[in-house]
């Protein structure tokens, strides 16, 4: 499977949504702990990298971080002006990367950037922001099965929208999902 996980953070680094697509062998409790540690590191890295890019980018040009590639995996990210960050954690997909670089990543309809943009504008905005229950800064985070944050009463839960279904359907329709 190509896609490992997807995280959505707000401006302040709070996790709004997180989902893991690969199975892990550890128990759910361990897994949640691991995942939360991972999220923290990912957000920290994205944040610092952006600060760094801000100071490296020549004046008049827009700093933008598209992906971070390591030997084994690639982290694709998309940041909106409203501070939402979507991070998609995948393995290195040679065919996809080749297609992307040949066709120009921005234009390729199936590129990761386009996909993340789609997730934001067609799925996040449609399902979450438009939900009458949505209260910014008051979102309950699903930390995996049975790991709800305490005191979540009366808070908006993303699971009450069809965000997750739509997201899954969209990701599965992508040629690079598997």
């Amino acid at each position: 499977m190509t896609v490992h996980a997807l995280h959505i953070f707000d401006r302040k680094g709070k996790t709004l949504f997180t989902k893991r697509y690969t199975n892990s062998k550890s128990t759910p409790a361990q897994d949640a702990e691991q995942l939360s540690e991972q999220r923290k590191l990912i957000f920290g890295m994205l944040f610092s990298l952006r600060e760094l890019m801000g100071s490296l980018t020549p004046e008049g040009e827009t700093p933008a971080l598209h992906s971070v590639k390591t030997g084994a995996n690639t982290l694709h990210c998309y940041e909106t002006l409203s501070g939402l960050r979507i991070a998609l954690y995948t393995n290195n997909n040679p065919t996809m990367n080749a297609v992307g670089s040949r066709a120009g990543v921005e234009n390729s309809r199936t590129s990761f950037q386009a996909a993340l943009k789609h997730i934001y504008s067609e799925i996040w905005v449609e399902c979450v922001v438009r939900s009458p229950l949505y209260r910014p800064r008051d979102i309950r985070v699903n930390e995996g099965e049975g790991m709800d944050v305490d005191g979540g009463e009366g808070r908006f839960d993303i699971r009450s929208t069809n965000f997750e279904q739509k997201l899954d359907a969209f990701l599965q329709s992508m040629p690079w999902f598997r």
């Binding site: 401006r11 680094g13 709070k14 909106t80 002006l81 409203s82 905005v125 209260r135």
Partner: protein
């Protein structure tokens, strides 16, 4: 400025993409909301505050809608909003056009470029509306009501989401006999990004 006409064009493009609602229904719904608030709170100052609060919640949501639509249309906001002047253009020409179908004008920049005015020729919210006039006495309290105060909240909420803390005020209102509507927007501070408490707690 070169982006002047392009902002208007972009606004038009965004407007055509939006699902439309009947303008009269919209105006009447807003009217009944205000009436209800007046009945509930009785004090016009409190009503203004509530309208502002409602607007703030609307604005916080609007901005994502706006950014996603504008981004898809290929208008890079990051390149467009370099200064408050650009931001003002985008709010007036694109934001107002996209959500209300009316175009607003920008002007009245202060010396330090920290505040500006948005002028609305026609205000879709105030269709069919008449505020009780002076001569009626008694209800003279209602003259302090800022009928369209929801705009202030919307602008405040939307800009807050993109890290601009602003204060808005309706300074001229056609309902009070002025020749146009003027919303004064004042930039208080540019917020900085940083990890919040939630991140530290986690």
């Amino acid at each position: 400025m070169s982006s002047k006409s392009s902002a208007a064009q972009s606004g038009q493009a965004l407007w055509t993409k939006m699902p439309k609602a009947n303008a009269e229904l919209f105006a009447l719904t807003y009217g009944s909301l205000v009436t209800e608030l007046v009945r509930d709170y009785e004090d016009p100052i409190e009503v203004n505050a509530q309208l502002d609060r409602i607007g703030h919640s609307i604005g916080v949501r609007c901005v994502d809608e706006f950014l996603s639509k504008a981004d898809v249309a290929g208008m890079g906001m990051t390149t467009q909003c370099q200064s408050l002047r650009d931001t003002a253009e985008v709010v007036a020409k694109m934001g107002f056009k996209m959500f209300l179908g009316v175009q607003a004008e920008v002007g009245g920049f202060s010396q330090d470029q920290k505040s500006f005015s948005i002028y609305l020729q026609d205000n879709p919210l105030s269709t069919f509306v008449e505020l009780p006039g002076d001569e009626q006495g008694g209800s003279d309290d209602l003259r302090r009501l800022k009928y369209s105060n929801v705009y202030c909240g919307v602008i405040r909420g939307a800009l807050e989401q993109v890290n601009l803390k602003v204060e808005c005020n309706i300074v001229r209102d056609t309902l009070k006999g002025d020749d146009l509507n003027e919303i004064r927007v004042e930039l208080k501070e540019v917020l900085t990004d940083g990890a919040g408490d939630d991140y530290k707690e986690e």
